[in-house]
C-alpha cells in the first residue's frame, strides 16, 4: 500500500512536474553527478510509513512549485532554467554604463540591473545644488528620456530583462523604460524586468526617500494598478531586505521587517481597490546573502514559507502565484574587506552558494574591490564567473532544495520563521509598518544588532580574516575605478541641450497636468508617462510632486 507521501508525490509528478517539464524541459547537463551518477529532480524523506511525520512534511515543506513553496517556487528549479545572473552596474554617464552593459551581456550575463546615481534616486537633476559632487558616482546619472535612450542603445528590450534600483521616483524611471521600449518598437506588454519601488525600507535603512509615507504608498499602488493593465510581465516591486541586512540586522529581522513591508504594500493596494490576485503574482523580493551559509539557506526557505502563509491566510489569495515568494539575492557588500581583497572572492563564493542552495531566482555577486571603490571590469568578471562556476561545475543546481531534511537546516528554518513572524505580529500591534517606522521601531532593532555585531569584531570574538586576525602588511593597493571630474559637466551640458531642444509648451502642459492629477485621486502613471515623453526631467517631475506631497524628514 502506498503511503500518504508516496501518493501525493505521484500526484505532484503527474500534475505539477509534468506540466512544468512540458513547458521547460530539464537540461541533461544537470541530471548527473560528475561521476556519472543520475540525480533526481527532488529527494524526499525516508519515513514514508509514518503517517504523522508525512503529514508534518506535507504541511511544512510540501513539493517544489506547490504551496507553501518551502522547497522552491518552481517544480524543477535550476534543472530546467538557471537563475538569472544579474550584475548591478551603473556609473558616470549613460554612454559609459551602456558600454559596461554590453560587456556584461557578451560575458554571458542574462539580465541587466541598473544602478542610478544618488541625485537620480532622490529626484534631483544633475545641475541641482544638492547634486554637487554626487553626479555619476554610485550609479549612472539619468535626467531625461534622452539619457535613458543612450543607456539602452543597441540593447533589445524584448530580449533582455532589466532590474532598476529605483524607489521614490520609480514611476518616472519606469515610464522612461516604457518610452524607450516604444521607441525600439517593443510594446509595454512584452517588457520584462523589475523596479525596486520599495519606499518603506528607504525610511528604515537606505535613505533615498523623497515624499512622506502616504503619498509614497499612493505612487506605489498607482504603479501596481497601471502595471496590472499594461505591464503583465513586469515585477512591480522588489520588497527589499538587502538594505535592512546591510544596515546590520539579523537574518530573522531581515525576513520579519521585509515581509512586514510586504504586508503594508498588499494592504495599501487592497485599500486602493485592487484585487490581491491581480497584482500579488508580480510582487518580488530581494534579500542579502551573508557568509554564514547554512543560516542563510534556512532564511530563504523560512521567508518563502512565511510569505505563502501570509498571502493565503491573511489576504485570502487564491492564485498560487500570489503566494510565491520569488527573490533576487545580492551578496552582502558590507562583509567585503578592504584588507587582502582577494579573500573577498571566497566570501562572495560562499554567499552566492547560500543563495543558490536557498533557491534564488536571480543573483548579483559583488566584486572583490568594492570595499575600496566602484568595481573594475576584471573584478566584475570574476564575480560573474563565480556564479557560472557554481551553476555549471559545483553540482548544487542539479537537484531541488538539496539541504532539505538536514536536522540543522530544518530547525533553523523553523526558528527564523517563528522569530520573523513575532516581529510581524509586534508591528501589527503597533498599527502596521508606517507607525512602526515613525516610532523608529525597526530602525532601533537594526541599530542594536549592528552595534552588537561590530562590538564582537572589536573584541575579537568574531573573527574577520585579514581584519582582526591573520592580518598582513600590504604593500600595494590595486588600481581602482574613479569617476572623472568632467562627468558632471558633460551630464549638465546634455541636460541643457535637451532643455533647449524640447517643446517647452508641451513640457509645461504635461507638468501642469501631473500637478493637477497629484492633487486629485487619479492614477499618476499615464500623466508621468506623458511628461517623460515630452522630455521633462526627473527633477522637474519630482519637484511638481514635492509641491503637492511635501517632503519626508527623518
Amino acid at each position: 500500500m502506498d503511503s500518504l507521501l508516496e501518493e501525493r508525490f505521484e500526484r505532484w509528478k503527474s500534475e505539477t512536474l509534468a506540466k512544468s517539464v512540458a513547458k521547460m524541459p530539464e537540461q541533461a547537463e544537470r541530471t548527473v553527478t560528475v561521476s556519472g551518477r543520475p540525480v533526481d529532480t527532488v529527494y524526499l524523506p525516508g519515513y514514508t510509513q509514518d503517517r504523522l511525520a508525512c503529514e508534518r512534511y506535507l504541511d511544512q515543506l510540501g513539493f517544489p512549485g506547490e504551496y507553501p513553496f518551502t522547497r522552491g517556487v518552481q517544480p524543477t528549479m535550476y534543472r530546467s532554467r538557471l537563475w538569472t545572473m544579474r550584475q548591478y552596474a551603473g556609473f558616470a554617464t549613460a554612454e559609459k554604463t551602456n558600454e559596461r552593459y554590453r560587456f556584461l551581456l557578451e560575458s554571458g550575463q542574462t539580465g541587466l540591473s541598473v544602478a542610478f546615481d544618488l541625485p537620480t534616486q532622490i529626484g534631483y537633476d544633475s545641475d541641482h545644488p544638492l547634486a554637487a559632487g554626487e553626479v555619476g558616482k554610485v550609479g549612472v546619472a539619468i535626467d531625461t528620456l534622452a539619457d535613458m535612450e543612450i543607456l539602452f542603445d543597441s540593447i533589445p528590450l524584448d530580449k533582455v530583462s532589466t532590474s532598476m534600483t529605483i524607489n521614490a521616483p520609480a514611476a518616472v524611471l519606469l515610464a522612461m523604460y516604457i518610452a524607450v521600449g516604444a521607441k525600439q518598437g517593443v510594446p509595454a506588454d512584452k517588457l520584462t524586468g523589475t523596479i525596486q519601488n520599495d519606499v518603506l525600507k528607504e525610511y528604515i535603512a537606505r535613505g533615498t526617500y523623497i515624499f512622506p509615507p502616504a503619498p509614497s504608498l499612493r505612487l506605489i499602488t498607482n504603479i501596481f494598478g497601471y502595471a496590472a493593465e499594461h505591464l503583465p510581465l513586469f515585477n512591480i516591486i522588489s520588497v527589499s531586505g538587502y538594505h535592512i541586512r546591510e544596515a546590520g540586522s539579523t537574518a530573522a529581522q531581515e525576513v520579519g521587517f521585509t515581509l512586514a513591508d510586504g504586508v503594508a504594500y498588499v494592504e495599501a493596494a487592497r485599500n486602493a481597490g485592487l484585487d490581491v490576485d491581480r497584482f500579488a503574482p508580480r510582487v518580488a523580493f530581494f534579500f542579502g546573502a551573508m557568509t554564514d551559509v547554512l543560516e542563510e539557506v534556512a532564511k530563504f526557505r523560512a521567508a518563502r514559507r512565511l510569505w505563502a502563509r501570509i498571502m493565503k491566510e491573511r489576504f485570502g489569495a487564491k492564485d498560487p502565484r500570489s503566494c510565491m515568494l520569488r527573490f533576487h539575492t545580492q551578496t552582502c557588500g558590507a562583509t567585503l574587506t578592504a584588507q587582502q581583497i582577494d579573500n573577498n572572492v571566497v566570501r562572495v563564493t560562499l554567499q552566492a552558494l547560500s543563495a543558490v542552495l536557498g533557491g534564488t531566482q536571480s543573483l548579483h555577486t559583488c566584486s572583490r574591490d568594492e570595499a575600496l571603490a566602484l568595481p573594475a571590469e576584471e573584478a566584475v568578471q570574476i564575480a560573474l564567473r563565480t556564479q557560472q562556476i557554481i551553476a555549471h561545475e559545483s553540482g548544487v543546481a542539479h537537484t531541488v532544495d538539496p539541504l532539505a531534511g538536514s536536522y540543522f537546516v530544518e530547525k533553523l528554518t523553523d526558528e527564523i520563521e517563528a522569530e520573523a513572524e513575532a516581529y510581524i505580529k509586534k508591528i501589527d500591534e503597533m498599527g502596521g509598518m508606517v507607525p512602526a517606522i515613525e516610532q523608529r521601531y525597526p530602525q532601533g532593532e537594526i541599530e542594536q544588532s549592528a552595534y552588537r555585531y561590530q562590538q564582537e569584531i572589536e573584541r575579537g570574538e568574531r573573527v574577520i580574516v585579514g581584519v582582526n586576525r591573520y592580518t598582513a602588511d600590504e604593500q600595494s593597493r590595486p588600481e581602482i575605478v574613479t569617476i572623472s571630474e568632467e562627468t558632471t559637466q558633460r551630464q549638465i551640458d546634455r541636460l541643457n541641450t535637451v532643455r533647449a531642444q524640447r517643446d517647452a509648451t508641451a513640457v509645461g502642459r504635461a507638468l501642469d497636468a501631473l500637478e493637477t492629477g497629484a492633487r486629485g485621486d487619479d492614477n499618476l502613471m499615464p500623466l508621468i508617462l506623458s511628461a517623460v515623453e515630452a522630455y521633462a526631467s526627473v527633477g522637474e517631475i519630482c519637484d511638481r510632486l514635492r509641491k503637492v506631497f511635501g517632503e519626508y524628514e527623518d
Binding site: 544618488l118 541625485p119 534616486q121 532622490i122 534631483y124 544638492l130 547634486a131 554637487a132 559632487g133 554626487e134 558616482k137 554610485v138 528607504e202 535603512a205 537606505r206 535613505g207 533615498t208 546591510e246 544596515a247 546590520g248 558590507a334 567585503l336 574587506t337 578592504a338 584588507q339 570595499a371 575600496l372 571603490a373 566602484l374 541599530e447 542594536q448 549592528a450 552595534y451 552588537r452 561590530q454 562590538q455 572589536e458 573584541r459 574577520i464 581584519v467 582582526n468 593597493r477 581602482i480 574613479t482 569617476i483 527623518d554
Partner: protein
C-alpha cells in the same frame, strides 16, 4: 541565552569592552566636562551603519555626541557644529563625493573662523584621496576595517593637542 545577555550588555551606558584602556584614560582627561563631537552625514548618501556605530561608541567612551542624521548639506553641518559649540567634526561618506563635499565643509568653517575644530572622516575613501583631505584639515581618515581603538586614541590625542594649542593662544 547568549543572545539576550549580549543585548543587556549593549544597552548599558558604558560598554565594558571599550572602557578598558582608552576610555579610562579619556575619562580622566574629560573629568570636568565631556568633550562635544559632531558626527555628520554630508551629501545624499544614506549608508549610516558606520556613523551610527561611531556615535554610540563615542558616547560609551564618555564623549557628548551630536549626530546630524543623513542627507545634510555642508551648510547644515557647519551651522550645527557652531551652534552646538563642538570641538570635533567627524564626517562619514560612502558615495565617493567626499572630495567636493569635505572641501566645502572646510571652506565654510574657515569663513566662520572655526578652523580650530578638529576634523576627521570615515568611509570608502581611496588612499589616493587622503593627502588631499589632509590638506583640507582632515588629519584622520578612517577607511573600512579601521579598529575602534585606533579611532578612539587618535581622537583623544587630537582633542588633547587642540586643547593645549587653544590655551596657548588665549594665555
Amino acid at each position: 541565552m547568549g543572545y539576550k545577555l549580549l543585548l543587556k550588555i549593549d544597552i548599558q551606558p558604558h560598554d565594558p569592552c571599550i572602557q578598558s584602556q582608552v576610555v579610562a584614560k579619556s575619562r580622566a582627561v574629560n573629568a570636568r566636562r565631556p568633550k562635544r563631537i559632531l558626527i555628520g552625514k554630508v551629501g545624499l548618501d544614506g549608508h549610516d551603519r558606520g556613523a551610527k556605530f561611531i556615535v554610540r561608541a563615542l558616547r560609551n567612551a564618555g564623549y557628548e555626541v551630536i549626530y546630524t542624521g543623513i542627507r545634510k548639506t555642508p551648510e547644515q553641518i557647519v551651522r550645527t557644529a557652531i551652534d552646538e559649540d563642538v570641538e570635533a567634526i567627524g564626517l562619514s561618506l560612502l558615495s565617493g563625493a567626499h572630495k567636493e563635499l569635505f572641501a566645502r565643509v572646510a571652506e565654510l568653517l574657515k569663513e566662520e573662523g572655526a578652523e580650530n575644530i578638529v576634523l576627521f572622516a570615515g568611509g570608502t575613501i581611496p588612499d589616493q584621496d587622503i593627502p588631499y583631505l589632509r590638506s583640507l584639515g582632515f588629519n584622520w581618515v578612517f577607511t573600512p576595517g579601521a579598529a575602534l581603538s585606533e579611532i578612539l586614541s587618535a581622537l583623544e590625542e587630537a582633542l588633547t593637542n587642540s586643547q593645549s594649542a587653544g590655551s596657548a593662544v588665549t594665555t
